[in-house]
């Protein structure tokens, strides 16, 4: 199908004029992703510190107090309340006064000497972030505390100072962890590369779906169809301005990520830009496909909603795709976001090149061709 550039230019100018005229909608289009970015960056926190803790110390000896102090010193727990028994602790957790409870049974010091000491940690299972943080932290603190006790015992029993040198490295097996790419485990570093994709996909799918439906719903489409404008020209005139808009949003989001939130960019910006362009094109194509089934702008918006929801839940942005059951995993494969998140994390944080992400890049390319072709075929050049 031949494309007449003058016609295409006129059609694009119309779309841009309309896009720029509705300032409120435009502000919303750019503002909403930014708002989401800041919300995710500042509100999402997967590691919880200073978990409020209720303490029942039935031992009241030096060792038990030292253990409580060790937990508090770890910064993970605050000893906010001192109670008498387990039931009071459960009531306090029920009331939401504390998130966790520590119960130290009588004769803690004696039992530590025998090596049979046991403490009970109660965790609020209704709050998963606190549970996982508290669970890990309590185990770690107890382990370190035990090591300290063992070395003390050795010193006492043998009288040798060798015990004092005993440390974690003296254990038969030790693990040394090193988190690559994000050694300090900063949440926004994990989030940003995925967030870029999710915000762009939402913007692209929604705007493309709306753009295709708007003229049809208002009745303008009949007046445009009766001109010599060809269907492909009409489709392109709606896609091209949105592509530019999405790229603009991309630059702003990534710019804020790097310069405001300090997320390091380790890969090739050039490669990242081109693959993002591909991703935006595939998302716009998906939006057009969504609009084929929609008669009104309202329906288009409603149809775009599940794409956003699935994107958040199934693409691996928040919940890991490892171990996801087959059906949701396949559903996730239908979204361009799923492929882009692997690309984005790879290039952004790991700094890998095309040789590492080519499979996802190829998948996106194929995806784009398919959705754009299907959407263009479904574009009705007549009214029936």
């Amino acid at each position: 199908m031949p494309i007449n550039l003058q016609r295409l230019r006129s059609l694009i100018r119309k779309e841009v004029t309309q896009l720029l005229r509705d300032r409120r909608a435009l502000a919303f289009m750019i503002g909403l992703p930014l708002l989401q970015l800041f919300l995710y960056a500042y509100a999402v926190n997967t590691t919880v510190y200073h978990i409020p803790m209720a303490v029942v110390d039935q031992s009241q000896d030096a060792k038990s107090r030292a253990f409580i102090q060790a937990l508090v010193n770890s910064q993970y727990f605050n000893a906010d309340m001192y109670l008498q028994n387990q039931n009071q602790v459960i009531t306090a957790i029920d009331d939401g006064q504390v998130k966790t409870g520590l119960i130290i049974p009588p004769e803690f010091a004696t039992n530590t000497d025998r090596g049979t000491a046991n403490v009970l940690m109660l965790l609020d299972g209704s709050d998963s972030a606190s549970v996982s943080s508290g669970y890990g932290a309590a185990g770690l603190v107890a382990q370190n505390f035990s090591l300290g006790l063992i070395s003390e015992q050795i010193v006492r029993k043998t009288g040798l100072q060798t015990g004092a040198a005993l440390s974690a490295s003296s254990l038969p097996i030790t693990t040394s962890e090193r988190v690559l790419y994000n050694p300090d485990m900063i949440d926004i570093w994990f989030l940003l590369p995925g967030l870029v994709g999710m915000l762009l996909q939402t913007l692209a799918v929604q705007r493309a779906a709306l753009a295709m439906v708007r003229d049809r719903e208002l009745g303008t489409m009949e007046q445009i169809l009766v001109t010599p404008a060809r269907p492909l020209e009409i489709v392109l005139s709606k896609i091209i301005p949105l592509l530019v808009l999405c790229l603009l949003a991309f630059v702003v989001i990534v710019g804020l990520g790097i310069f405001w939130f300090g997320v390091p960019f380790n890969g090739s910006l050039f490669l990242y830009f081109w693959l993002t362009l591909l991703f935006i094109a595939s998302s716009l194509g998906l939006g057009m496909l969504v609009s084929v089934r929609a008669g009104t702008q309202r329906q288009a918006q409603q149809l775009a909603m599940p794409v956003m929801m699935f994107g958040m839940l199934l693409s691996g942005m928040i919940f890991p795709r490892l171990g996801m059951p087959l059906v949701p995993s396949l559903l996730g494969d239908l979204l361009p976001l799923t492929y882009f998140i692997r690309i984005s994390r790879g290039i952004f944080l790991k700094g890998v090149g095309l040789s590492f992400v080519w499979q996802d890049a190829a998948a996106l390319a194929i995806y784009t061709v398919i959705v754009v072709l299907v959407a263009a075929r479904n574009f009705k050049s007549r009214l029936d």
């Binding site: 007449n4 003058q6 016609r7 230019r9 006129s10 059609l11 100018r13 119309k14 004029t17 309309q18 005229r21 509705d22 208002l218 009745g219 303008t220 009949e222 007046q223 445009i224 169809l225 009766v226 001109t227 010599p228 404008a229 060809r230 007549r382 009214l383 029936d384």
Partner: protein, 331 residues
């Protein structure tokens, strides 16, 4: 180049719905010569909009032939689109664009050069009386001005044929008159062929040729005078004191062909004025109905139209009672 500007032969369009097939246009044949103003007249839902959409290739044709300037509606759609101007019934120009932006948009899509645009756009705006509103958003124009802008945009590429689907729907009488004066100028100055759908009888009288469409069928066509001549008899008009009682009294009397009500007036079609007028006067007096202004009047398009439609309804009803069923029409 002696092909008619607009041509349809046995043109049929059916829609499939959940309830079955609806025939919106039923074997419609018409021919519009160059420079004519053709009015397709019919009640709402008769199939006027569907006809014009099929002619333009905006809807797929179910059966029959149709062409504009010799180009087939289905196969040469894009040739047609360069030659015609069209105002859709639900004409919505992008309302968030100004008058000037709209003009430039349609000029560009029609492939006009910048120089041509700079010359033609001010001319058309002047012609449509919109020169002072170039920066106004199209959505903020009054109903009449919107239609004038639509006319101006549809004329931008100097089309040879314009098709207007109820162009004055929802427009006040003064603006309607202005709009038709614009059309009259176009016909006189440029020899433009105009095809117009309208439910308004006064607009029908302004056409050189008209076709009456009812339930998807063309039931009569010709000049306005031809159409009026199709109605037999003469019309007597009067205002009775009791409209319903008078109607009951007169209907069915010998020599009475048809009775139509117009507000408080009755229009009685009779075969012979001199003989029937005294009979009617006598019949009304007999039951104590007073009346005023009883006089013969000239048949207007409106009476002719209603008479022809009612005749068609009777015909359809008798056919339905007989062998074949008659399909209903949609817009």
């Amino acid at each position: 180049m002696d092909k008619p500007a607009i041509y349809a032969n046995g043109l049929t369009k059916t829609f499939k719905t959940r309830k079955g097939t609806i025939t919106a246009v039923d074997h419609l044949s018409l021919q519009v010569g160059r420079g004519e103003t053709y009015g397709l007249i019919g009640p709402d839902g008769a199939g006027k909009t569907t006809t014009v959409r099929v002619l333009l290739g905006l809807l797929t044709r179910t059966a029959g032939e149709s062409s504009i300037m010799g180009f087939d509606s289905m196969n040469d759609t894009y040739q047609i689109r360069q030659l015609i101007g069209y105002i859709a019934q639900q004409n919505v120009l992008p309302g968030d664009m100004t008058v000037m932006e709209n003009m430039k948009f349609f000029a560009g899509v029609q492939g006009m050069s910048k120089e041509d645009q700079n010359k033609r756009i001010p001319e058309l705006l002047e012609f449509a009386g919109l020169s002072d509103f170039t920066e106004r958003l199209a959505g903020k124009l009054s109903g009449g001005m919107k239609k004038k802008l639509a006319l101006a945009t549809s004329l931008i590429h100097e089309p040879e044929v314009v098709l207007l689907d109820e162009p004055t729907l929802g427009v006040d009488p003064v603006s309607r008159r202005e709009f038709w004066n614009l059309l009259g100028n176009l016909r006189a100055e440029r020899g433009l062929t105009i095809f117009v759908n309208t439910p308004y009888m006064d607009e029908a009288e302004r056409c050189t040729q008209i076709g009456l469409i009812y339930a998807g069928k063309l039931i009569a066509s010709g000049t306005p005078a031809d159409i009026k001549a199709l109605v037999p008899g003469y019309v007597l008009e009067f205002v009775p004191s009791d409209n319903a009682a008078a109607l009951k009294q007169i209907d069915g009397m010998p020599g009475i062909l048809e009775v139509q009500t117009y507000g408080e007036k009755l229009h009685v079609f009779v075969d012979e004025v001199a003989r029937r007028q005294p009979q009617i006067e006598a019949a009304l007096s007999a039951v104590g109905i007073s009346y005023s202004d009883l006089r013969p009047i000239e048949i207007h398009m409106e009476e002719a139209f209603i008479s022809l439609v009612q005749r068609q309804k009777r015909l359809a009803a008798s056919e339905a009672n007989g062998v074949s069923a008659v399909s209903g029409g949609v817009a």
